[in-house]
């Protein structure tokens, strides 16, 4: 019987151990899917956004309500001033409308006051809608003809934005936990020490561990993409082959970082502390849930060289914008550096025995 190459032997042993642990399979494969479902539902595109506005009770409040009644985007309520302020503070409403008392005739609306916080999402929009309806009712005529066209670009919804981010996040978590935890566990069980007593080459073992990670990754990605397509219609505009390449390099990158994180840890607690420390900046900065453009411009260069950022950027460029992989040189470059350097350092400082 021909014996297997040691890299493949390690890879297959790892794959077998993995599939024989159904709870681990569940978490690795379905956690990212669960995130897509929850976030996809929370941020799905709503048909028409409506605003709750309060009109303060007075002799003129009914007349205001009447004038706004034809506007489908508004929901008006007549309440006392105290109640209206409470509701505004709590965020139940976005805008409070008060008719100013006119001196001459108490039945004619001459002046209104809007109370709102412009920093709150929707406040300004509600104010402008209310204002337009009231001005029209008071006789204002628009002089410029305008036409509103609904923007609907493929790949432009929040879910389309989110899926590449979650995909990259899955690569990161899978690589770090999958490789890192397995290695520390083997060290605690003295299995690494036992392997060192054989002629096994150290690099073969580490490569086998990484290769098995790449293979776990394939179902993880396919499941995520299929579910996002079926539930939210997330389509891929770029080439499949390019996406596969980016995913592969990303998986290697995080497996290498996982090796490095686990290279000296003696306990699972140390390892998980280190992994969270490594992942935390990327969870917050690399733009999984929102674009990192929101952070001050001076730190963009730093964000861009974090291991996760180029993976997300490259996947978004491919999936949402349908760009060619040839435009992604800088991203791939950063990813390749993060694949090679941690592997080499890990190989040098790795602790094989206890």
């Amino acid at each position: 019987m021909k014996t297997q190459h040691p890299i493949l032997a390690v890879t297959f042993a790892r794959l077998r151990e993995f599939i024989r642990r159904p709870e681990a399979v569940f978490w690795v494969y379905f956690f990212p899917v669960l995130m897509v479902i929850v976030l996809g539902v929370a941020f799905r595109n709503q048909k028409v956004e409506t605003f709750d506005v309060d009109v303060i009770e007075s002799s003129l409040s009914n007349s205001i309500v009447e004038k706004l009644a034809t506007e489908p985007r508004l929901k008006t309520h007549v309440v006392s001033e105290i109640e209206a302020r409470d509701r505004l503070r709590a965020g139940t409403t976005t805008l409070m409308i008060e008719a100013a008392e006119s001196s001459a005739d108490k039945q004619i609306l001459e002046q209104v006051e809007y109370l709102f916080d412009a920093a709150r999402p929707g406040s300004l929009a509600a104010r402008n809608i209310v204002d337009a309806r009231l001005q029209e009712a008071a006789g204002r005529r628009d002089v410029l003809k305008v036409k509103d066209i609904k923007y609907e670009e493929p790949g432009g919804s929040y879910v389309d934005f989110l899926v590449p981010g979650l995909l990259a996040m899955g690569l990161m978590g899978g690589g770090l936990w999958g490789v890192g935890f397995a290695i520390v566990d083997m060290r605690i069980r003295k299995l690494l020490k036992r392997f060192m007593a054989t002629p096994m080459r150290r690099s073969h073992f580490l490569m086998g561990m990484m290769l098995s990670r790449l293979i776990f990754m394939i179902p993880q990605i396919v499941i995520l993409l299929v579910i996002s397509y079926l539930l939210f219609g997330v389509k891929i505009y770029g080439s499949w082959l390019s996406i596969l390449l980016v995913v592969l390099v990303g998986a290697i990158e995080f497996a290498a970082i996982g090796l490095l994180v686990a290279s000296r840890a003696k306990t699972l607690e140390t390892a998980s502390g280190l992994m969270n420390l490594v992942m935390l900046p990327m969870w917050t900065l690399s733009g999984i849930f929102f674009s990192y453009e929101r952070f001050p411009e001076i730190i963009h260069p730093i964000i861009k060289v974090l291991p996760l950022t180029p993976v997300i950027d490259a996947l978004r460029a491919l999936m949402m914008d349908g760009k060619s992989i040839l435009t992604l040189g800088p991203e791939l470059g950063v990813m390749i550096v993060w694949s090679i350097v941690p592997f080499v350092i890990a190989l040098a400082i790795f602790r094989w025995s206890d």
Binding site: Q4, A13, R20, R189, R194, F195, M196, A197
Partner: protein, 315 residues
């Protein structure tokens, strides 16, 4: 005679506060084809010594040569030709016996196939069983099988039978004896004297990082001066026992008094016993118990250190 292992003035101090001098100057040589036993209480430095010889630990000073090669120059070549079973390795629970052996086999350039290895340790029926379903004895046999798949000339077994029941222990002894019959070399550590007496051509008794006696089991026992042991206990306190009473009996070589028993090392029990009983009777001392047996390596250890093997290292 070519040597399989040779070490000279080996020492190992573990760094730390305070540093632990686990091995303090050890010399021994194991010939090809020999089964050499390392005996000693807990903490004597057995595992430390064997792991230095396996190339897993670096010695603080001294030389270690395995199969006439040095670890610093020929590590891979040595590893191709030795097999190892560590004191405590947990193999992967969810791999089968066959898969585990194939994995280990893949690391060696040449060796025996997994099926043959399973046959050598009688685990053929467990080929497809996950390791977590194996008994302690079966796991230990599998550990030995992983040491055999590279078809080694020399195997290192660190306490292969600790914690096993007598029948599992005997199964392992058979495996080791078969390996030896093919002219191969074994280095074995153990706590069990009968194991060393049965398997080993020569033994070294370790205590506190040093070898305190070395030789064939029968030579070591003969060095006691007498080959039988009589142990007895009295109804009352042993402190007030008059040693002269027994020391003067013919062929009594040595007397040890402890709280639990009085131990005589004797040449001829059939001469000593009648005398002993009649002298005690004359003094009106009554016996609580009395046993006789062949002297063992345990007695060698006791006579050298005043402690029992299972008492561990005092400091």
């Amino acid at each position: 005679m070519p040597s399989a292992i040779r070490c000279t003035n080996l020492t190992k101090t573990y760094k730390g506060k305070p540093p632990v001098e686990a091995v303090r100057g050890i010399d021994f040589e194991v010939n090809v084809g020999e089964c050499y036993g390392v005996l000693g209480p807990n903490g004597a430095g057995k595992t430390t010594t064997i792991e230095i010889l396996e190339g897993l630990l670096e010695a603080t000073s001294g030389e270690a040569e395995v199969l006439e090669m040095s670890w610093s120059k020929n590590a891979t070549a040595i590893r191709e030709r030795i097999g190892v079973s560590l004191q405590e390795t947990q193999l992967s629970d969810r791999l089968s016996v066959g898969e585990t052996l194939n994995l280990f086999r893949s690391f060696y350039a040449s060796g025996i196939d997994a099926t043959t290895a399973m046959e050598r340790v009688s685990l053929q029926e467990k080929e497809n069983a996950w390791i977590k379903t194996l008994s302690g004895g079966q796991k230990q046999r599998l550990a030995v099988a992983t040491a055999l798949v590279g078809d080694p000339e020399l195997i290192f077994l660190d306490e292969p039978t600790t914690g096993l029941d007598p029948s599992s222990r005997r199964e392992l002894w058979d495996i080791i004896e078969t390996f030896k019959k093919h002219g191969k070399t074994v280095l074995l550590t153990t706590h069990y004297m009968e194991e060393a007496e049965r398997l080993c051509d020569r033994v070294a008794i370790f205590d506190a990082g040093k070898i305190i006696a070395e030789g064939t089991p029968s030579d070591l026992i003969r060095s006691l001066g007498a080959e039988h042991v009589i142990e007895f206990a009295l109804d009352h306190d042993h402190d007030s026992f008059d040693l002269d009473l027994v020391q003067s009996i013919e062929t009594v070589d040595h007397v040890d008094v402890s709280e639990s028993e009085i131990r005589l090392t004797v040449g001829q029990p059939h001469v000593v016993l009648p005398q002993l009983i009649s002298r005690l009777a004359k003094k009106g001392i009554s016996l609580a118990s009395l046993t006789t047996r062949h002297a063992s390596l345990e007695d060698v250890f006791v006579s050298l250190t005043g402690r029992h093997l299972d008492e561990g290292d005092e400091d």
